[in-house]
């Protein structure tokens, strides 16, 4: 291993960038170091579905050349990153973890990735995930499970399992994931890294292969809160190509995260500490709350009374939207087409039957069912009504407190295969995360302890719409005190 990569995870992302700009570290060496690490570790972890060796090296050399000329360089100059495979990058495959998109190369690049590249980042490749981001364990990928780098018999969480595992295993300085019901925060928690759910509308979804459009977000995963703040600053902001993206200015998240938490009002919702919560997780999250209290935050109990209805609401609304979004995979414009079908209808049915995996079919069927004549009011409309009640729970809580602290997941990483035969039990892995998606609010998961078996435990800090600055401030305070 070269000197440039002697301790890949110990150096802040901003420092890597400054070293590249000053020439003390060569971007090309840094990238080679990460590519070597990928070659060494990916065969057992399976986080990367494709590695862009040549373009990554070319991008890194271009950064070095620019640094040598003294050209102005962006905030991520030479920083090697990985991208979840549901996000489009021109000239790289985008499979979404599905056979139906095997070999698909999109003709355009997602806005979030375009911004990373404009900031000087080097793209190492595309990261494994549950098929179409549907899953909580990364066991639904058509390209095989991802193994948790901390314990190889455990899942990395999902659906952004590859994005979390790549950071944890030192195979990227940071990554992009997506979060529709917990898919950034829960794997961040399982792998012991930081993951950010930005407010709905904060990061453009242009170029994200849609799962549930009213819930989907793109967000960063990284080693530290500050690294994640650097990445969010780059990818956030208005985009004319996403009509739901916000025009609010993007704050300086790093500067904001360094402000003290003295006087910050911290809410602890009782509903997130009830039955089913692993005692070790509870105790670690309580330590995170204590850390905030010791730094002058005012901690108080709050109630989010509709919490127990969040997961069933989510599985009505997310599957309904998915059944509609996934109609586009029909063997016509891209992706797999079943050979030999001699009518259009047969071609649709056979292509989808062969191209989609079991969980995707299950969700398409459920979503089609809840939207179908006779069931629309009982399920879909009911779900939309409960969604409002869940959002109002948070609105009330955020009049009393600035942030909420909860566990990210009820347990540490479970074993590969442990929950694959029981969809409802798998869905409950998202019990503390789905509500933030339904309400459109922001949050972060950060490591707050380790179980007796050595598995990472994550704390979730939630804030109101566009409350990222406060969430980062609280998260950094917890991180500093637990370090």
């Amino acid at each position: 291993m070269t000197n440039a990569t002697a301790d890949l995870s110990a150096r802040p992302l901003a420092q890597l960038r400054d070293e590249v700009v000053s020439g003390t570290t060569k971007a090309a060496e840094l990238t080679s170091g990460y590519l070597e690490r990928i070659a060494a570790r990916n065969p057992e972890i399976n986080a990367y579905l494709s590695v862009a060796t040549e373009s990554a090296q070319a991008e890194a050399e271009a950064v070095d050349a620019a640094a040598k000329r003294g050209d102005p360089l962006g905030p991520l100059a030479g920083v090697p990153l990985g991208i979840k495979d549901v996000i489009a990058v021109e000239s790289m495959t985008a499979t979404a973890g599905s056979r139906i998109l095997e070999g698909y190369i999109p003709p355009y690049t997602a806005t979030a990735v375009r911004r990373l590249k404009a900031a000087g980042a080097v793209l190492l490749g595309k990261l494994n995930c549950d098929e179409f981001a549907m899953g909580s364990s990364n066991e639904n990928s058509a390209y095989g499970v991802v193994r948790n780098p901390v314990a190889l018999d455990r899942v990395p969480g999902g659906s952004s399992g590859g994005s979390a595992a790549a950071v944890a295993a030192g195979m990227a300085a940071g990554t992009l994931g997506t979060d529709t019901g917990g898919s950034i925060r829960q794997p961040a928690s399982f792998c012991g890294v930081v993951g950010v759910l930005p407010t709905y509308g904060r990061v453009s979804r242009y170029g994200l292969i849609a799962f549930a459009s009213s819930l989907d977000r793109i967000g960063p995963l990284a080693h530290t809160v500050e690294d994640a703040a650097v990445l969010l600053k780059v990818i956030a902001g208005h985009d004319p190509l996403d009509a739901t993206s916000s025009e609010l200015p993007v704050p300086d998240y790093v500067a904001e995260s360094r402000k003290p938490v003295d006087g910050l009002r911290v809410g602890v919702p009782a509903e997130y500490f009830g039955e089913g919560l692993d005692p070790e997780v509870r105790s670690a999250v309580e330590k995170a709350v204590d850390a905030l209290r010791q730094q002058g935050a005012m901690v108080q109990p709050v109630s989010l009374p509709h919490t127990r209805y969040a997961v069933p609401t989510y599985y009505v609304l997310a599957t309904a939207e998915a059944s509609s979004n996934l109609e586009r995979f029909d063997g016509v414009r891209y992706g797999y087409r079943a050979p030999g079908a001699n009518t259009l209808g047969a071609m649709y049915r056979q292509s989808r039957e062969c191209g989609f995996g079991a969980e995707v079919k299950r969700r398409i069927l459920l979503g089609t069912y809840v939207l179908s004549a006779g069931y629309y009011d009982a399920y879909y409309r009911k779900g939309q009504k409960v969604r409002r009640l869940l959002a109002e729970d948070f609105q009330r809580a955020f009049t009393q407190v600035d942030v909420l602290v909860t566990p990210t997941a009820p347990t540490p990483a479970f074993r590969i295969g442990e929950k694959t035969d029981d969809p409802v039990s798998m869905y409950l892995a998202d019990i503390y995360t789905v509500t933030a998606n339904l309400a459109g609010i922001c949050g972060v998961s950060l490591p707050c302890g380790v179980s007796s078996e050595g598995l990472p435990i994550g704390a979730q800090i939630l804030g109101p719409h566009f409350g990222e600055t406060t969430v980062f401030r609280a998260a950094r305070a917890v991180e500093q005190s637990l370090r």
Binding site: P107, Y309, P312, E327, Y334, L344, E353, K385, I416, F466
Partner: protein, 131 residues
């Protein structure tokens, strides 16, 4: 039937294991699973039907917990823009519209490269009429 890679071993094992588990109260029947599959343009195999039936009933049984809530006076919420829009600088409309101006679109050749079958100008399809 599928000329592609079969389900990975983990899923294959899971499906075998669950075939014998007692089912939850029936909300959906095998016939309605077939109807929904047809609506969704999915050709379920005979082997998939029983596990999908079992799973859908289990999930719908769980979703039925929503019936405990009286929502008669609650307005449905399709998406959060109504909560978030008020926070947007300079945007007061609930549904801000972009200017109706022409902008460059994707290159036709680049788009057609991804398609299973084209004639260079259009996507090509099997016959539309069933007979």
């Amino acid at each position: 039937m599928c000329p592609m890679t079969p389900l990975d071993p983990i899923h294959a094992a899971a499906h075998e294991a669950t075939a014998h588990v007692a089912t939850a109260p029936q909300t959906v029947t095998e016939e309605s699973v077939r109807q929904v599959a047809a609506l969704a343009n999915l050709d379920l195999t005979p082997a998939e039907l029983p596990s999908m039936l079992r799973d859908l009933n289990a999930i719908l049984g769980y979703i039925a917990e929503l019936d405990e809530l009286d929502t008669a006076s609650v307005e449905p919420m399709a998406q959060v823009s109504e909560l978030v829009a008020g926070l947007s600088a300079g945007s007061t409309a609930d549904t801000p519209l972009r200017q109706d101006v022409l902008v460059p679109s994707l290159d036709r050749a680049a788009v057609l490269r991804s398609a299973p079958e084209t004639d260079g100008v259009f996507f090509k399809l099997p016959r539309v009429m069933e007979r």
